[in-house]
Amino acid sequence: MRRPGMMIELDRCVGCLACVSACKERWDSGPGAARDWVRSYEHGKRGEDLGVTFYPGLCMQCSEDPCTAECPTGATYARPDGIVVVDPQVCIGCGNCVPMCPYGARHPDPEKKIVEKCNLCAPYVARGEQPACVQTCLAECRHFGDVADPDSEVSRWIRERAAKPLKTAEIDVGPNVYYAPAADREVLIANGALKPTRSAELTRI
C-alpha cells in the first residue's frame, strides 16, 4: 500500500522560508496562518560549540491520526493512503482537533473560519506535481515520495541518511515524515517539537 511521506535533511536547510511562502501562496492561507513552518533554534556557546538548527515542520501524516478522533463533523479523516485531510466544505472550524496534534500542525485560519493543515499537496501531486515546499526548496533538503516502497527515492534518502521520524518513547503516533541527521533531530525534540496531545472543549473559533 502506497504511503506518501517526506524526508527532510536538517543539516542542509538554510532557513530561507521559500517553502512556507510557496505553501501559503498555493493554499491561500489567511493572515498569520500557514500550513507549514520553519523554526530556528540556537544552541551552545560562542567560542565553543555554538550552532543553529532549523526545524522545517509540517503535518507528519501519522499512521494513528489521533487528530481525527474527536472531529464532531467527520470533516477530517485519513485517506486510504494515509494522508490526513480536512474537507473544507464540512469543517465548522470548531478547533477541537487542534490540540490533538503533538506537532501543532493544525491551525485555525482566521479568515476561512476552518481548520487547515498540510495534505502534502495531494491534489497537485495527483496532477504529477511535487508538493509546493519540495518543488521550491532552494537547499533541496526535502524529499517526497512513497515511504512504504523500499525502492522509492525517498526511502533511499531515508536509508542513506539514517532518517527517523520525530518521536519519543512517550509520544509516538506513527509519523511519516523523517528527519536527519540524529544530532539535529535531538535538538528539535529537546526544544519541544512534540507536545503531549490533549482533548479540547468543543469551542467555535
Partner: protein
Amino acid sequence: MPDTPNLSRRGWLGGVAATAAAGATLTSSSEAQAFSLLRSPEAVVADRVVPSYCELCFWNCGLLAEVKGNRILSLRGHPDYPNAQGRLCGRGNAGAASVIDRDRLKYPMVRVGARGEGRFERVGWKTAYRTIAQGFQRIKAEHGAQALALLYHGRGGPLIRRMLVAFGSPNYAAPSYAQCKGSRDVAYKLTFGEKLTSPEPLDLDETRCMVLFGSHLGENAHNSQVQELVRARRRGASLVVLDPRMSTVASRADVWLPVRPGSDTAVLLAWIHLLLREKAWNAAFVDKHTVGFEKLERHVQPFTPEWAAAQAGVPAADILRAFDLMRKAMPAVLIHPGRHVTWYGEPDIQRGRAQAILTALLGAFWAPGGIFRPSSPTVKEFPGPDFPDLPKSVDEAAGKYPFAPEVTTTGIREATRTGKPYPVKGWFVHGTNLIQSMPNVGETIEAIRNLDMLVVCDVMPTEIVQWADVVLPEDTYLERYDDLQLGAGKKPYIGIRQPVVTSPHDTRPAWRIAKELSQELGVGDQFAFETFEEYLSARLEGSGVTLAELKKKGVHQLEPTQPAYLRPDEDFHWHTPTGKVELFSQQLADKGFSPLPTHTPIPEPPAGAFRLLYGRSPLHSFGRTQNNPILHDLDSTNVVWMHPAAASKLGLEHGVSVMVTNDKGDATGPVSLLVTERIAPECVYMVHGFGHRSKGLSRANGQGASDSDLVRDYALDPIGGTTGMRTQTVRVRAAQRQERR
C-alpha cells in the same frame, strides 16, 4: 475533495475585497483583501502559463506564472533559467501579492502640500509629463542639461537613461554601485582588468573550497547561488566563513572565523603570507600572467598568522586550518568576492584587492572551481540618432574618485547639496528609495530641498515618494514589458519580461514613460517605435531567437562566446595598463594610494556603544518588499541582535522593546531585542529595510528599526567613491512607555 465553483482565486481588482469562496464570507478583517482565501484553491485551474522574470530582487530569476483570466494563480521557478533552476525563493513565490497590494501607487500625482509632507493630487499622464517637461526645460535653460540627474535601480532604468542622455546629461547613478558592489568592482578591475558580472561568475559546480567574507547566503536568498552552494557542500566542498555574526551559512561552515569587524584583510594577508612562505602558489599562473610578485612577497612578510590572529581576534590555529582547506583544494578554491561590500570606505578596496590577489595566487581566476570567465549575449541596440556630446559628470568635474567606473549617487547628492562642482537641480528617481538606500538621510533631504524638481517613478509609496513633486506610478513587474535580460554565464542567455496580467490601475511601464516623456522633452526620436514588441523585435534581430519564440519559452540559451577557463597556453592580454594581472598596482601608486593591500584596523566603538551591522532577511529585498501582504505576514519586523554579556551589562532582557540611537540625536525603533550568542559582544545587528515611515505603506509603516536612520558617519572611499556604512556606532536603551507601540 469536492469541487468548488471557480470563484476568484485572488482578489484581483485593486480595492475590491476578496471574493467569497463557496459557502463562506471571508472579508472580516481589513487585511482579507490581500489574500484570496479560497478554501479549495486547487479547484481553480490555470488557462495559461506565461514565462517572465522576477523583480522581487535583482537576481531576476526566470519564472512561470500560472494564470486564469487576469488572475495569477501561482509563480514558480523557470526550469531553463540558470538563475532559477526551477525554483523561486520566498520572495519570488509571493510576487503575485504585490499586484493586489492595495497600497500601490495607482495614478500619476503632483504635489500639493509642502515638500516631504506627502500630500498630492491626482492628475492625468499628459499633465504629469508636461509638468516634468516644463520643470526640466527650465532647469536646462538656467543651468544646462547636466543639472539633471537620474538615480535608478532596475530594468526600466536604462530606457529612462537613454532619455536623459539624449537630453544632454551625463549624471546617472545607481546605489547598486556606490552603496553595494562598487568597491569590489573597482578592486577586481584594478587587479584583473575586469569587473565581475551579476550574478557573480562563481564556479560553484566545480569548487572544492569556498571562502565567504560576510556573505550570508541563505539569509541572502540569491537563488541559484544558494542552490549551487548547498550542492557544492553535498559534493564535499569545504566552507570557510568570516563573519563577526554566526550567520546561517557560518553555522554550516567547516571553519567559522568570527573576526573583529573590519579585520578580514588581516586574515587575507596572512593567507597570502602562508601561500608564499610555503611556496604553494600557482606558479604557472603567477609566472605567465602577473606583475609585482616580488614586491608582494616583501610586502606580506610581516603578516604572519599570529599577527592576523591578534588583529582579527580569532585563534591562529583556525586561520591555519582554513588555509589547509584552501591549499588542499587548489586551484579549485572560490574566494567569494562578496556583493554588498561597502563597509568601511577605502579599506573595502584594500580587502577586494587582497581577495583578488589571493585568487590569482591560487590560480583560481578563470579556472575550474574558482571564478569562471563568463560569456555575455550580444543583441542589437535599438537604433536612434547620435547622442549629444556630454559635459563632464559631477564626479569628473570635481576630479573625484579616479577609479570609479560610473558616476556615483554620492557625487550627485553632494553636487545637489553644495552646488559644487556645479549645481544639480532636477532628479528623476526610478525604483530606488534613496531615503533608505543611501547613508546619512540628512544629506539626502538637504539635497532634495535644493532641487527645483524631484520626479519619482515607483510601484510603491515609499519614503522618497513623499518628497516628490511629480509621482509616476509604474506597472508591477508582472504587468509590463521590460528590456531584455542579457544573462552572462558559462552559457549566456536572453530572457524576457512580459505582461502576465493587466494592471487594474492607471499605471504604465517604464519604457512607455521614457518614450512619452521623451516626446515632451523633444528627444522622442530616440524611441522611434509604436509598441514595445517592435523595440524588442528589433533588438533580437540576428540573435537566433524571435520575439514570438522568446515570449513562448521565456529564455533563450546561447552558445558560449569564449571558454569558461583560461587555457594553460593562452596568452591573454589583460585589460590593465601592463596587460598583466596586477598584484602590485602602479595605477594606485600613481594616484597616491597604496599599491599593495594593507590592513587598517577599524577603531573600537566607545565604551557602552556598539558597531551597527546590518544584513538581509531571506524574505525581503532592501526596503522594497516589507509591504507585500504575504511577505509582511511571514516576516513583519526585524529585531536587534545583542550578545548576552552586553545585554546583561545594560540590564536588558531578551524580548524587551528597545530604541537604537546614535550620537547625532537619531533614534530608531521601538524594536524587540534578540539576546543571542551569535553576535559579537561589540556589535549589534539588524536586518536592513524595516522601520518604514511612509504612511502610504499601511503594513510596513512603523514596523521595526531602520539602520538607514542611524548611519550618519559613513566612510567615503576616495578611490572609487563608494560609501562604507558599517562605520556607525550606536547605543541601545529600553524604549520608554510613550515610544512603545
